[in-house]
Amino acid sequence: MFQVRFHGRGGQGVVTAAELLASAAFREDRYAQAFPSFGSERMGAPVMSFCRIDDKPIRTREPVTAPDALLIQDPTLLHQAGLLDGLRPDGYVLVNSSRGVDDIGLAEFAARHRGHLLTVPATNLALANLGRPLPGAPMLGGLAALTRTEQTVSLDALLAAITERFGDRPRVAAGNSAAARAAFDFVTGELDELKAMTHHA
């Protein structure tokens, strides 16, 4: 089972992101469960959502406390205590930021989780492709790239899920898809760079 925990603020599409990831996994004939943290859902308040993916039916219903991946859609949440709690030792963290990991105070963490903690300018990619600061889809694109060795979800499945979800609004679907693809390429590029640096180190 692969478990993802999303952190964001109300209004940033954290719940939609979890559902899209689940839809993508479903398209690849896998079982998936997505649900929100059910906190006070006013705009701007910190919220969490969860997604589990497995090849067999998922029975458990508790919140994800031992995530394999963390998607942090709002970097201002990083100061929250316990944000990274439970992450498996070689787990993945993707942070929505146009700055590097060092600039957001995660240099040490990044060093210990080389290749598993990255930042991606998801909001910028969303603005560029969708015209709105909704980082969910690009974050998922980034996740698909970041966790490709675990085969969580393919980019194709993700794009298909996005298209289906926003089927009645083709421009929104296209914008989100483009942002997701751009983020996928960005993260892929980052990982390739890291690999290259490692080889040269």
């Binding site: 559902e19 479903f26 649900f35 508790e62």
Partner: protein
């Protein structure tokens, strides 16, 4: 058709296929998505029904009563405070024998106000005369609605389908949504036992005095007794026609050779089963009994499931609600079932664990810890899972220290905030 879909939506799509003719509901978290989806379907012309935005839950149940009495299939949904607000009408519907189907998106009852999941709402109405079915998954939640209309109309008794608020209603998971033709084949059009018809007028809702009230109530009792036969029959028919198990009275998980069995209702059983598997790996012979039909309480089915031999030593009833002054709710019915009659383990030690009140997550880790203690005989007869004793002691100290100790809920929240 298999879909990755939010629980509320799955229920709405399935209910729509049951061809309700009057839908009347008042919004309350966490049922809103169900009714909103149905509303959209009606507005778009995908569902041919009268959709009424009523002014309260009391009005919602009342509209459903009027609609069923006039011969239309009616549906509503609510939770928590809303269910309490319509309570008078809930009893009225059952007393009149009107086969309304209602979804309860299980949510705690205040005060303190709480929008999250537990079973206190449905439990508050357990004696109202409604059949109560509890869904373990969103698949079952959808399926139970189809069965509910049939059970209700066959018996002329209303049915509430309970699905855990947020945990199921707002979770997206894989659900097989049936085809309209399948549902039509399973659920015939509503044929009322009693109906308001100018061509054949009757008076419905007479006052009944001491000379006949007992007999009329006995008939309600008899309907519930018959339900114990109808529910499994409908379950079997559903299985035959839809190709999967859903509904029924009880379900068993690894209980055959278990010496410790967890008894529970609703979605928590998913997490319980994962905990059971882990315990089994640890060498604990654990199992789980799901009570799908809580009203009528399936006494014989429970006895049959818990077995006749002496192997079963412990029962842990995982309660999602609390009866202040009495303890557990399900425990009471379980004890009654086991104390009388033939079969069933008479000597099993029963422990009540109050868990997940007001939406506190019931974690696999806590369950494991608790059940391991149970297996070792270290679990008290009555306990609260994951109770923060320190928080409680703090407030009790405050209460003992001064008369004007202030509102307890706020004090506890403040103490909790100070801690973090």
């Amino acid at each position: 058709m298999l879909k990755q879909i939010e629980g509320s939506r799955a229920v709405a799509e399935t209910v729509a296929m049951c061809r309700p003719q009057v839908i009347c509901a008042y919004p309350i978290t966490p049922q809103t998505h169900i009714v909103e989806t149905l509303g959209v379907m009606v507005k778009k012309g995908e569902l041919n029904a009268e959709f009424l935005n009523v002014e309260s839950e009391f009005a919602a149940m009342s509209v459903a009563i009027g609609a069923e009495a006039a011969g239309a299939r009616a549906y509503t949904a609510t939770a928590s405070q809303g269910l309490l607000y319509m309570s008078e009408a809930v009893y009225n519907a059952a007393g009149l024998g009107l086969p309304i189907v209602m979804t309860i998106a299980n949510r705690a009852i205040g005060a303190p106000i709480n929008i999250w999941n537990d079973h206190s709402d449905a439990m508050s109405q357990r004696d109202a005369g409604w059949i109560q079915l509890y869904a373990e998954t969103n698949q079952e939640a959808a399926d139970l609605h189809i069965q509910a209309f049939r059970i209700a109309e066959e018996l002329s008794n209303p049915v509430m389908v309970c699905m855990d608020g947020f945990v199921l209603t707002h979770a997206s998971e894989r659900v097989d949504i049936p085809a309209q033709s399948q549902v039509d084949a399973f659920l015939p059009p509503y044929e009322p036992r009693q109906v308001l018809d100018p061509g054949d007028p009757v008076s419905i809702g007479a006052m009944v005095g001491p000379e006949a009230f007992t007999e009329v109530r006995y008939l309600a009792f008899e309907r519930m007794r018959r339900a114990l036969e109808v529910i499994p029959a409908v379950e079997a028919d559903f299985g035959a026609q839809f190709g999967r198990g859903s509904g029924g009275l009880v379900k068993q998980y690894r209980t055959d050779d278990a010496d410790l069995i967890v008894v529970a209702l609703g979605s928590v059983l998913g997490t319980v089963k994962d905990a059971i598997d882990e315990l089994r790996d640890d060498g604990v012979q654990a199992g789980a009994l799901t009570i799908t039909t809580f009203r009528p309480f399936p006494v014989q089915a429970v006895r049959d499931a818990l077995g006749d031999d002496d192997r079963l030593r412990r029962l842990v009833v995982l309660e999602r609600s609390l009866a202040p002054g009495a303890g557990g709710v399900v425990t009471a019915d379980l004890r009654t079932a086991l104390a009388t009659g033939d079969g069933g383990p008479r000597d099993a030690i029963i422990s009540t664990v109050i868990a997940g009140l007001g939406g506190r997550p019931v974690t696999r880790r806590s369950l494991r810890r608790m059940l391991t203690r149970a297996a070792r005989g270290e679990l008290p007869e009555f306990s609260f899972l994951d109770l923060d004793r320190h928080l409680v002691e703090g407030e009790l100290t405050r209460i003992r220290a001064a008369r004007r100790s202030g509102p307890s809920a706020e004090n506890i929240l403040r103490a909790l905030a100070r801690r973090s």
